[in-house]
Each structure stands twice: as C-alpha cells, then as structure tokens.
Amino acid sequence: MTDTRPQLTPTQLQALGDELDALRQRVLEDLGERDVRYIRDLIKTQRALEVGGRGLLFFSVLPPAWLAGAAALSLSKILDNMEIGHNVMHGQYDWTGDSALSGREFEWDTACPAEQWRHSHNYLHHTFTNILGKDRDIGYGVIRMTEDEPWQPRWLGNPAYALLLALLFQYGVAMHDLEIERIGEAEPAWRSRRNLLSGIWSKVRAQTLKDYVLFPLLSGPQAPLVLGANASANLVRNVWAFTIIFCGHFPDGTFEFSEQETTEESRGEWYLRQMLGSANLTGSRLFHILSGNLSHQIEHHLYPDIPAHRYAEISKEVQEICDRYELPYNTGPLHSQFGSVVRKIFRLALPTPSPHARELGSAYDPDSATPSPEPADGLRRTTNQAVTAAAARTATAK
C-alpha cells in the first residue's frame, strides 16, 4: 500500500465492477430466513436489554443495580442505533416485506429523525462518499479533517470541537442536514431549515421526556439516580458511535476525491471510490455487532443494502479481490485506527502546508515514529492526483 492513490485501467474497472456486482448478486440470492432470524433475535436482545435496564434502574439506590441498569441501557441504545437502526434504515431488510423491518418506517432512539438520516446518510454520504464539498460526513462541518480545507485560526479548536462532537454526537448527527456552518451565508433556505428543525425538535422532545422526565419521575425519590443513569447511557452511546464512525473514513490510508473527477463515474469507479475511501476495524464477533458491523466499512460501502451480518462472510472474498487488483484493504484494530484519527485531528488544528507544497518536500513527518504502518499524510495529494487521474482517464477515453 502506498499513499499514492491506486489507479486502474478502464478494462480493469469494468472487470472489478462486474466481479463486485456478481458477489452482490450471489448474496442477494441467498437471503432468507437466516437473515430474518438474525435481526429479530438481535431486536429481541435489544428490547430485553431496554426493558431489563429500565427495570433495574427502579432499584438504583443499590449501586450494583444502578451500574447494571446503566450498562444494559447503554448497550440497548448502541444496538438500537447501530446494528439495528442504521442497518434496517439502509433498507437491508426491505426484501422481507415486514413493516417492523422496513427501512422507510423504522425510527431509532436518537435525536436525528429517521427521515432526515435517510437523506443525509443513505443518499448523500453513501452516494458521494469522500467527495469533498458533497460528503458532509467529512468533519461534520465542525472539524477540519483534511488539508484541503484551508486553515483558519478557528481550527486551533479542532480537538475541542471533536471532543464536544463525541460527547454530544446524537445532536451533531441530528444537525447534519442543517449545515450550521453555512448559517449566515445569504441563502433562502430558511423555510426548509425550519422543517428540519421541527422534525429534530419532536425527536429530541420525545427522548428528553422519556429519559429525563418520565422514567426519573416514575422512580420516585430515586429520580436523580435514574436521570444520571439515562444520561450516562446516552453519553456512552454518543462516544462509542463517534469512535466507530470516525474510524470509517478518516484513518490514514483512506482517500478523498474531488467533485470534478467523479461527475461521470462508471459502476466500477464508484466501487473503487468506496473501497479507497473506507477503512475497516478488526475485532471479535461481539465487537462487530456492537459496531453495527461498521467495522466492515469497506463491505458496507460496497453494499450498503445487504444485511450487515453478511459483511464478515464476504470480507475474505473482498480482500482477495483487492489483492488481485493491487488495491489497499485498509484494516486494523480499533486503537491504531482511532489513534491515527486522533492524531489527524490534532495535526490539522495547526496550519498545514498546502497539498502542493507538502508534496514537494515532506521529509518531515511528525508521526513517523508511531507504529502505524501507513504514512500519516494519506490524504494530502488528493487534489493533484485527482486532476491528473481525471485527465488521464479522459485521454484514454478519447
């Protein structure tokens, strides 16, 4: 793997697209009762954790009950948001025809209304993955995650912004479509913003009512303890989701793309961009479930609507395809992938040379002493490479 973005010939791209299409088709044809049983069992587990956790918190004067209740509720929220909500809302189980598993009807326990999420995530993020200026997951509009974002003094707060986003992640996700960093720019989008806000408000109100008013009140004098446990559960879920999601596209070795080079993509090029823009995490089966199988980010971005528990099964084959086309398959344990994300957040708080300047002389690498196998500046040549690649493709096409 190098930090130069791999290129494929048009013939290779066609073949890659066909191979990945064939793999997708094979999985789709095999879908059946096993998948339904898997997701229903998971839903049962989550609902049991939810009911059990809430129940235990009625005895929260006893510290072990408080601890177990808060833990069960945290797990419930993590499962609800990640392996169940995120995946069901992708339409991964639409083929079942079950309204309880319908991507269009599912609502999750977080501040972001499902409908807005389906737009900002399923459509924008998954269609325009890692395209600067189009994929709002790059820094969520509040963190500088790439050298291509020109440095300004406000980016000195980058680590602080990231910490805040992690703690309040569910609200950060909910604000996604509002494009708050663009408020103040002259544009007549206030009416649609109001609609978005009212959707968010009704979700936030329902969650606040449930977690911070009703359940505490029902527990009588233990109200402060229950409120604390519920807040902890939301916090644990926020930090966990932030950690997993930021490992999906920002570890070293992932690539970004420009709008101009992606305007007329073939299916093969689209697949390639998804593979180069995503990074996996290694871990146990339980870890994969708790990450909503976003630990298989590469497989997820190739096939966002295939039931996520299948990603582990096809990952060997995807790796083998990557090997054959000499493409990177970016994977590693959580600590090293997240470590490289954190380092990037800190590094980009300070002024960085423009991509062009760094290209000319980058002997100095502040991260070279770290054990990360990847050069820390995997993103820096994006724009230049992109333009060259686009030009090369146009030339071949002619």
């Binding site: 998948d35 025809g97 269009r104 389906r118 459509y123 998954h126 009512l209 009703l214």
Partner: protein, 406 residues
C-alpha cells in the same frame, strides 16, 4: 405497509355493523339496515381492557420511538395495536386441492361485506408474501373469518399454507377490500353465478342472506370441472332443501353428464330460473364466464344488473425488457404506456415527483410499493412478479402491466 393498505381500505368503507355474536338473524338484519354499530352496547372484554392499558399515551411515551406494539409482539405474536392479525383456529381440507382456514382476527379487524376479499400475509423463507382471498362465511360471523384456498401446484402461498397452517399459526391481515358486494338493500330477486374457486364470495353472499332471514328468491348456479371438486356441496344442498326461496344448480364442465349444457347459455338459465332476466346477478369466476354473463344481460338491455369479479392474471410480456404493458400510478390515478425505462422515469414523465436519491439502486429513497405486475431490476436482471412488494423504482423497469402505490 399494512397500515397504508388499511387506510385505503377504510376510506371507501361505510359503517360496518357490529353484531352481538349470539344475536338472532332477524335482529341482525334490522341492525344491519339501521347501520347501528352496536359496539357501545358491548362490555369491554378483557382483551379490550388490556388493549386500553397497553395503548395508553404514557406507555406509548415510555416505549418511544418504537411503540408498545414492537415490544408486546415479541412475547405475543398475535397481539397488535396497529395491525390486524389473526390466529388460525382450525384447518380443514375439503377437497384434494383446497384447504379451509378458520381464523380468529384481533380486534383491529373491521370485518367484511359479503363478496369482498381479504389480503392475507405469511412469511416464507424470511419474506412476507401476500395473497387475496374471499371469505366464505356470512358477513355476520364477525368473531371468525373462514377462507377457502385453492392449492395451486406451483402456488407459493397456497402450498405453504397447505403444508404449514396449524391451529395457533398467526397471519397478518389487511382490511377487507373490493367493490363486489351485495347491495345494502338486498335485491328482490338474486342470481349468484360462480365458477371454480369463484364460489367463495357468492357463498358468503348466500350465507349472509340466510342469516338475515332473506326470503326473496335466490338462485345459486355453480360451474365446476368435476363433481368432487365442489366445495360446500353438502351445505348448499342442505340450504336448498331447508329454504324454499333458494334454488341450486351445479354444472360439471368436464364430466359426461350435462351434454351440451356445460357452459352458460340462455336455455340453461331458463331451466334453473324462469325469471332470470329480472334478477340482479352476482358472478365470480374465470374471465370467460363473466364475459358470457355480461354479454347475455347486455343483449337483454340490462347490463347494469351484472356485478362481477374475476381473478384476472396480470398480463406478462414474454421477452423481458420489452415493456408493452401499462404503468398505473394507483394513488394518483394516472396511467401511461410502459416503455424501456425505469419506473421512476415513467413517474416523472407522468408529471409525478416521487422521492429519489442516488438513482442507482443503493439508497432506497425511492422505495415504493408495487401493487401488481412484473418488473425487472436493471442491476441484477432479476424478474419479480410478487404482489404487494416494495421495490426501488429508480432501478426497476416494467415488464407488462405494473401498478404502483404512487
């Protein structure tokens, strides 16, 4: 999805009559005419009380955002606050190629009018499959629903039910639907004609009339291939014996007896009912039977007396990709000729603005319910002809007639 169907079904629905289960036929008839619901007169059953508690707004707020249903159904699959469901209470096999299900619907089920059909869904290998069946019981038998289902050799749902339906099995229902219903003011002279499995809705009409103590002439004419294939044969004969106003005639189209009279004709009609021309006709069966009936009454100058329902198969074009059918957007009441382009493009051409995102089949923003018809997925090439199925319209092209809930 079911809720949407449910809404559509109840829009056109008039006040259903809720009758005391032990009520007498004559009393029922009076209630039916006055349109009184009768629900208020009933004491809340234990189930209804439980439903009220479970459905309270406090519990709903505590169970947000999933709702109480999504918790309770994990323990009690037959329970639902939102979806009509039913439990199988008995299964019979009246003829070699049919089965009769007796179902006990939950309280969300609104009942049906004699002649209407019901959508029943079961899950087969993880996929929810829906088929429409006509109940055969009287519309006054509110506590139970009886469906007689013909088992086709390659029928997915009918075959599954034949092999797997047991007392205790839970199925999903949609509210009854269909325009093929007995007029509320019962006609003075009735002719009920059916062919094959088309017997069920007219059987329901006959049983309903008998329950109401209807005493005006009713003629029941049924066409079957062979004698042993007639469902409800014994009950029909018993009804004809005990009720002077009910006349019964069977015609067997594949047996030697019957001679030239195997298909519907004036001579045959005259034989079973001299004054058949004056009758209000309800006919259900294969398209040929309906066409003949319509032609006979049209030539007599009374086409409006014929009410019919046919089980028409969707027209399918042999070579995929050649969409010579018709694309119908049911909710918008727009129809246009099918072309070699996606259903999303058809909708846009028709001036509709359905939601869409990637336009390449990955984001599911455009997902929409296909009511009937066959489509080909442009990415996989796969053909799909299931009824009541969610499809991505950005990557589906029509193959023959297609109807979308859009």
């Amino acid at each position: 999805m079911l809720t949407r169907l449910h809404e559509r079904a109840t829009v056109g629905e008039q006040v259903f009559t809720k009758l005391p289960q032990d009520g007498q036929a004559s009393q029922q008839a009076v209630d039916a005419r006055s349109g009184e619901t009768g629900r208020s007169r009933q004491l809340p059953s234990a189930g209804r009380l439980a439903r009220r508690v479970v459905g309270s707004s406090l519990l709903e707020a505590l169970a947000a955002p999933h709702g109480v249903d999504r918790y309770v159904e994990l323990v009690l699959p037959g329970f639902s606050l939102r979806d009509p469901r039913a439990e199988v209470v008995a299964v019979r096999y009246p003829t070699p190629n049919s089965l009769t299900l007796r179902l006990r619907p939950n309280e969300l089920w609104h009942g049906f009018r004699a002649g209407q059909f019901v959508s029943l869904s079961v899950e087969i290998d993880g996929v929810r499959r829906t088929r429409c069946y006509s109940p055969a019981l009287s519309e006054h038998a509110r506590a139970e629903l009886e469906l007689t289902i013909r088992v086709h050799p390659e029928g997915l749902v009918s075959g599954y039910l034949r092999a797997n339906a047991r007392p205790g099995t839970v199925v999903e229902l949609a509210q009854a639907d269909g325009e093929f219903v007995l007029a509320r003011t019962r006609p003075e002279h009735l002719l009920l004609i059916s062919g094959g499995s088309g017997i069920t809705p007219v059987m329901s009409m006959l049983r309903t009339l008998c329950d109401e103590g209807h005493d005006a002439p009713v003629t029941f004419l049924h066409f079957a291939r062979r004698e042993h294939e007639v469902a409800y044969s014994a009950e029909l004969q018993e009804l004809a014996r005990s009720r002077p106003n009910v006349r019964l005639a069977f015609v067997y189209t594949r047996e030697r007896t019957g001679g030239a009279d195997r298909h519907l004709s004036r001579a045959q009609l005259r034989r079973v009912d001299r004054r058949y021309r004056q009758a209000e006709v309800y006919v259900c069966g294969p398209p040929g039977l309906i066409a003949t009936t319509r032609a006979l009454w049209a030539s007599d100058g009374h086409p409006e007396r014929v009410h019919s329902e046919s089980f028409l198969p969707t027209r399918v074009v042999a070579s995929p990709g050649e969409a010579h059918g018709c694309v119908r957007f049911a909710a918008s009441r727009i129809e246009l000729a099918g072309e070699a382009m996606t259903l999303l493009e058809h909708a846009e051409k028709a001036g509709l603005t359905p939601a869409y995102g990637c336009r390449m089949g990955i984001c599911h923003t455009c997902t929409c319910r296909k009511l009937t018809g066959q489509v080909r997925n442009v990415n996989s090439g796969e053909l799909s002809s299931c009824e009541q199925e969610d499809i991505q319209i950005c990557s589906s092209v029509p193959v023959g007639d297609v109807e979308l809930d859009l």
